[in-house]
């Protein structure tokens, strides 16, 4: 279905359900969809599973959602940072679950989900605690570990510009997980600095084609 250009972020996130798995783009603050996350905080959905590289920075964005006690489980690669005190407190007091996934497996598991691939074998994690209990096999003389696809009910992505059809371009390293998450969720919501007329974006530069995008909001 064609993407909808929403009037505001509250409209865009209105139907996110309790218990949903939410893919949250961004690498630290770069590419974090803070307008959409603020709207999700107002919207009230709870018991969420959040998939994001980090577990919130400072007190805004994802950290604010965590602070509201709305996230049951984090799936991420790098939760602990100098400014991750909100997550740290929740984790140490047993108020949040953590599934630790390597950064590349996090991206590739979502890529697999978005590409209709039922998992993949990968030599990363072999011999480490992150491979425990996982199926492995010898491929070309090297042990590979089976990783499963990771899909979301919703993706919240921060980007640079979208056109009227929902084609999206990003800016610099704020691209990070956005293009992969856009393929891997049932409902993909993108916030941008600017919506431009359809035809104004050079087709050669579009990173996320409109087929993946359901809703667009201006931040």
């Amino acid at each position: 279905m064609r993407a909808v250009i929403c009037q505001d972020a509250d409209e865009a996130v209105a139907d996110i359900a309790d218990g949903a798995t939410v893919l949250v783009g961004g690498f630290g603050p770069a590419g974090m969809a803070e307008t959409l996350i603020d709207a999700l905080i107002r919207q009230g959905a709870t018991e969420l599973t959040v998939v994001s590289n980090n577990a919130g920075n400072g007190t805004t964005g994802l950290a604010a959602l965590l602070a509201e006690g709305r996230v049951r489980k984090m799936v991420c690669s790098y939760p602990r940072q100098a400014d991750s005190w909100v997550f740290d407190d929740l984790f140490r007091t047993g108020k949040i679950q953590l599934e630790l996934v390597t950064q590349g497996n996090l991206a590739e598991r979502m890529r697999a989900a978005g590409a209709g691939i039922g998992g993949f074998y990968c030599p990363v994690t072999v011999g480490t605690p992150l491979a425990e209990g996982k199926e492995s096999r010898l491929i070309d003389g090297r042990i590979h570990v089976l990783e499963h696809p990771l899909r979301g009910d919703v993706a919240l992505i921060g980007a640079h510009q979208a056109d009227g059809l929902g084609n999206v371009v990003y800016r610099k390293t704020a691209r990070n997980f956005g293009p992969v998450m856009a393929t891997a969720a049932a409902t993909v919501i993108v916030e941008v600095a600017q919506v431009v007329p359809t035809g104004a974006l050079d087709p050669e530069t579009i990173v996320t084609p409109c087929i993946y995008v359901d809703r667009v909001v201006t931040r």
Partner: protein
Amino acid sequence: MTAPRTRAQLARAVARDIPPGSFVNLGIGQPTSVANYLPPDSGIVLHTENGMLNMGPEAIGDQVDRDLTNAGKAPVTELPGSSYFHHADSFAMMRGGHLDVAVLGAFQVSHAGDIANWHTGESDAIPAVGGAMELAVGAKQVFVMMSLFTRDGDQKLVPSCTYPLTGLGCVSRIYTELATFDLTRGRVRVVDTFGITREAIIERLGLPVDA
């Protein structure tokens, strides 16, 4: 040299050993400082796993841009010929064997080249792995930069790692303040020493005598 290497001397030594024209990922922490010593005409291209090739120096003042950071989330700059890509592509570059050198920090490295650098294993520690495992497994060569002993005096080049592993048999060279080591098929060779004799370091580390 008659004294242990300073951190700057260590970074300079690593920089000198990276072949011109290499594609290189410098891990967060101490390895990041290697960038300050790469010769401008070396043609070395820095990769940052959050999605950029030909990353420039740290951004200062007006150059700071929230959308342009390195893997440590510090603001950086572009160099001519830089490019951006998403995370799945960035880690495909690593896993797919396209990076020539990764420089990593470590808690421990074993004689066989196993590396432990992501988790102390302490029960109250919050684990964070990031891209360390992909770098360890994917780069053609993995260099480690670390102090040779912990603050408590425990050695970090060990017969086998006691911390949770990051990758198996992947480290080929270790740069420390006291010595540089080559690791080949389970054997350790002392390349050079600083402020200590070769014999003394072999004895202190309990290395095989032909090291």
